[in-house]
């Protein structure tokens, strides 16, 4: 007699599920090391930049020893070691005085160049010319510095500065002490900084204009607007955010520039008396003074605090500037 096949699918034939193992009470849930720690190991390298930034901030804080220079720290008198005058006001003002005119010039030039490149020039020509502008970003600042110091400075000293002095001397700031014959000073510093900020502003504005959808250009032109009108009424409003970010990042570059400024600006720790005089920037002073401060702990504390001020300003400018651009694409090329 053939036995009846067991009814596999009846509820009675089901095996009961095994009891779940109760969760372990000691740390790690009783899982071995290889399951507990190792799976998280690949996450670790992702925090390299966080670690470097944190290390920089913590080390500078530690080296400043929280030395309290009082409100005088933000004052304008700096004499340095052996005195009680440790103000950084001169340097912060000097940084702004060089960076803001440079930003002004490089934004206007950058807008014009970006518009010419995106709107007016044929693609082949503009691609070739854009390459040159991007190359400006790659030139080392020390090369700008030696070129400015040896080659450009004599022109400023013998031609541009005297011309400004004679023709615009009536305007406050353009008169006063005659410009030095060496040509070093604010105009040369602003000129070099303009060249250094120009590729960044141009690149970001160009990217912003290029990201305008093609349909908007075409519908503007089809409605009878000229290219200039399309630009003014459609493209520029659309790329406001990109232009704003260009201003911020260009400013960050100009504000933090060190070596070129230390070479072409007549470094003196006082406010500029007129547009031709020398002054000092935070970055250039930090660079010039650090090695000479070796062994003087008060001086080193002050320099660490100066570095923190510079870091705070440049980091803020960078973070705010990048809020406006969601993603870096072509900007990668110049290392912005």
């Amino acid at each position: 007699m053939v036995p009846a096949a067991p009814a596999l699918l009846t509820p009675e034939s089901r095996q009961p599920l095994p009891e779940p193992t109760p969760p372990s009470t000691h740390r790690g849930g009783g899982r071995p090391f290889s399951r507990r720690i190792l799976p998280y190991l690949p996450y670790l390298p992702a925090f390299v930049p966080v670690a470097i930034v944190a290390a920089i901030v913590l080390e500078l804080l530690a080296q400043s020893r929280f030395h309290n220079f009082g409100w005088e720290f933000f004052g304008s008198t700096f004499v340095g070691p052996g005195s009680n005058d440790w103000g950084i006001g001169v340097f912060v003002v000097g940084s702004f005085v060089t960076a803001i005119p440079a930003l002004f010039f490089s934004m206007f030039l950058g807008l014009g160049i970006a518009v010419a490149s995106v709107v007016y020039l044929p693609r082949v020509v503009s691609r070739f010319l854009d390459g040159f502008v991007d190359l400006l970003a790659g030139i080392p600042s020390v090369v700008y510095g030696i070129w400015g110091y040896l080659f450009v400075a004599p022109y400023f000293g013998s031609a541009l500065n005297p011309w400004l002095f004679h023709h615009l001397g009536g305007i406050p700031g353009f008169g006063g002490l005659p410009p030095p014959g060496s040509g070093l000073g604010l105009p040369l510093g602003v000129f070099i900084l303009t060249l250094m900020a120009l590729p960044i502003t141009t690149l970001l504005i160009r990217d912003a204009l290029r990201s305008l959808p093609r349909e908007l250009w075409e519908s503007g032109l089809a409605l009878g607007a000229t290219r200039w009108e399309c630009l003014r009424k459609v493209a520029l409003p659309h790329s406001r955010a990109g232009i704003l970010s260009a201003a911020f990042l260009g400013f960050g570059r100009a504000f933090g520039e060190t070596v070129a400024i230390a070479m072409v600006l007549n470094l003196v720790a006082h406010y500029p008396s007129n547009v031709y005089s020398g002054t000092a920037t935070v970055a250039a002073m930090l660079f010039e003074l650090l090695d000479s401060a070796y062994g003087n702990s008060l001086f080193l504390s002050w320099l660490a605090e100066l570095a923190l001020v510079l870091l705070a300003i440049t980091a803020t400018v960078n973070v705010v500037g990048r809020l406006f651009i969601s993603r870096l694409s072509a900007t990668q090329i110049a290392g912005v």
């Binding site: 966080v50 080296q63 014009g112 790659g138 510095g145 000229t226 933090g256 973070v319 090329i333 290392g335």
Partner: protein, 303 residues
């Protein structure tokens, strides 16, 4: 010859041939903007050509093979030692930065959640926007003084490595996140493990872009002055120890740029500037060539 004027409004057939003063002004303004704005390129391009021409013409007359290749002892007029030392420092710094940046970028793109990645990217951007003098100051305090390594080659290498890490990190991250989504989903969907996806699917696509980032970082690093000058002592011989002094091209320029005209010191600064310019421009051209190629490839993949 009569010029056909484009219609100014979409109202069909209303004004097809408008020769009013206002239209002529609008079209003329546009035409002159197109003629004048490209001239602004001159303001950017003339300085760079002038800089290149001036550097070459003031360096080349005194440059000879002997100046470049003699590494036995650095006289005041020889560049062999700074050249070789620069190559060594750059090799070490780039190696370290690739180690930090490549693994970091891959981990950020592949393993972190979007939220965590956004935060880590902010810190990378902060680091990339930090002036190099700050990184130099940090290494000066932390390694030269606190750890007692003194002004040494290793401190300079570390300073450069920290400074160029974010550039490599960001390109590695960007290269991996811009691998087309369907490839990623297909790989994981057919059971690939993360390392298999990274090595066999993503790497062949992302590699040119990552290489590009490495070249870019080298071009930025070799031109940096502040991190090196603040953390090393200049040397007249080739480096024989990681904790000894070392020469560097940019530091050579910085130390000699204000030498009186006609002295060997100034000549060496100009030669160093010329060599630096050649190296940096060459690296930048390589970067642009690679970028043009991978952009075409990526566009092909998305179709």
């Amino acid at each position: 010859m009569e010029r056909v004027v484009l219609p100014t409004t979409a109202a069909a057939g209303e004004i097809l041939f408008d020769r009013s003063a206002r239209t002529r002004w609008r079209l003329g303004f546009d035409r002159w903007a197109g003629r004048l704005l490209p001239l602004l390129f001159l303001i950017a391009i003339l300085p760079i050509l002038d800089l290149a021409y001036w550097t070459a013409s003031s360096a080349l007359p005194t440059l000879s093979l002997h100046v470049l290749t003699d590494v036995n002892y650095k006289d005041v007029d020889q560049l062999g030692v700074p050249l070789v030392s620069t190559a060594e420092v750059m090799a070490l710094a780039t190696g370290l930065a690739v180690l930090f940046g490549l693994f970091g970028g891959v981990a950020t793109a592949e393993f972190l959640s979007d939220r965590a990645a956004a935060w880590v990217r902010v810190s990378a951007n902060i680091l990339a926007g930090t002036p190099s003098v700050i990184v130099g100051t940090f290494v000066f305090f932390a390694f030269c003084i606190y750890l007692g390594w003194g002004f040494s080659m290793i401190a300079g290498v570390l300073a450069l490595a920290f400074f160029i890490t974010p550039y490599i990190y960001r390109t590695a991250d960007l290269a991996l996140t811009s691998v087309p989504r369907h490839l990623r989903e297909a790989a994981y969907g057919s059971g690939a493990r993360p390392y298999q996806y990274i090595l066999r699917v993503a790497a062949p696509i992302a590699l040119p872009q990552i290489l590009n980032g490495i070249f870019l970082a080298m071009a930025i690093g070799v031109g940096e002055t502040a991190p090196i000058v603040l953390t090393t002592t200049n040397s007249v011989i080739l480096p024989n120890s990681l904790f000894g002094p070392v020469a560097f091209l940019t530091a050579t320029i910085w130390e000699n740029f204000s030498a009186p005209a006609g002295t060997p010191g100034l000549a060496i600064a100009l030669q160093a500037a010329f060599l630096l310019l050649v190296v940096v421009v060459a690296l930048n051209i390589v970067v642009r060539l690679i970028a043009a190629r991978y952009r075409k490839r990526l566009e092909g993949l998305y179709q």
